[in-house]
């Protein structure tokens, strides 16, 4: 198994949300990685490859004008009331995989990106910052906003179910 191919595919698959396109883009990214190896200055090979994968995917998303995925998400449409008595933690504990997958897929791409890297690849803030080319502070705030958004969507849908 080529090292880091699994991480590369998972990231691409989540970013472009299509299995076929993800495969094409990973192949493309690996070729670029091979051609532009002079851009590799040592260090974390995984972060370097993933950075190329995410750039390839974001370029593709822009070119294909994929709606809603690269758009900024509108600032909090509703401010969730912190109601201490609602067992939202309980709701979140009962979320099933399919609902979670849907909710994560619907997040804007830049929140999907940090969440996938953090929760599925379990990378550190520093590694995520290197891959996405953003400051660590932005990693933290993107994670916070992404999680909040995800939480709101999930709680809403779980409540709708019950």
């Amino acid at each position: 198994m080529l090292p880091h191919l699994g991480a590369a595919y998972n990231l691409a698959r989540w970013l472009v949300r299509s299995a076929d396109d993800a495969e094409d883009l990973v192949q493309d990214a690996c070729l670029r990685a091979y051609r532009f190896l002079d851009g590799y200055h040592g260090g974390d090979a995984r972060a370097w490859l993933l950075a190329i994968v995410r750039n390839t995917c974001f370029t593709w998303l822009h070119q294909h004008r994929v709606q809603d995925s690269v758009d900024e998400f509108e600032e909090e449409i509703h401010t969730p009331l912190k109601d201490m008595s609602t067992p939202e933690t309980l709701l979140l504990q009962q979320v099933d995989g399919e609902l979670l997958r849907q909710a994560l897929e619907e997040l804007p791409a830049r929140f999907r990106e940090v969440l996938v890297l953090r929760e599925l690849e379990e990378l550190s803030y520093k590694e995520i910052a290197d891959i996405a080319g953003i400051p660590i502070g932005t990693v933290m705030s993107s994670l916070a906003r992404g999680r909040q958004k995800l939480r709101d969507v999930l709680v809403e849908r779980m409540k709708g179910k019950h």
């Binding site: 532009f36 190896l37 040592g42 912190k82 933690t89 599925l120 803030y125």
Partner: protein, 254 residues
Amino acid sequence: MLHAYVDGELDLVRQMEIETHLKACRACTAAYEEHRALQSALRGAGLRYRTPAQLEARVRAAVGAARTHAPREMPRRVVWGSPLGWLAAAAAIVLVVFLGWKILPSWRPGNEQLASEVVAGHVRSLLASHLLDVPSTDQHTVKPWFAGKLDFSPPVGDFKEQGFELVGGRLDYLDGRAIAALVYRRRQHTINLFVWPAQTSAQEDEEASSRQGYNLIHWKQAGMNFWAVSDLNAAELAQFAGLVRAGPRPPAAR
């Protein structure tokens, strides 16, 4: 800040500050618990996509095709001193890194695939709970076990006194053939020592490398290939390799 805490990204002092605050603040505790619930839901839901089996073959083929073109152009451009020549040269050199290596300039190309197989074999042995076919700390049990299963007899030594305990052996498959895997323990670390006959009787000195966080050492001796792989640190693995090279101790010394 709470997110950095959930993610274990805070230093100890800040971490303790947050813990103290959480004890006193219900709102933050509730938010913390939600994030924890969300995190474990995300991690436990099998959301990570599996890489399709054909993708690796595709990528290898594509990179392989690109590679066969590159070397032909390279020498001319280097002679011209064009930046592209440098680029191609740099690319060819660092390709090695792309394939997973961090160090090792002296590594020969044929070993690249092998090193990857060795690491894969090591990882597989730990994952599949198939570390041992013959669990025994006795070299005189392990060595005969291989007779009849392999067309060669691997040298089996126990280095318990030096802190590398033999725990057993198993058959494995590497380099297109059945081979002997000897398993040693150093504290909590497992060492796989893969042994199989070499094509030539030439001796080769030890070469150390690391990939995917594992340390590897290989050498050729007495017509055998030796590959040691472990998550043990490089220095101690080198010590282990030295012991193996020196050969099995006679039973009286144990």
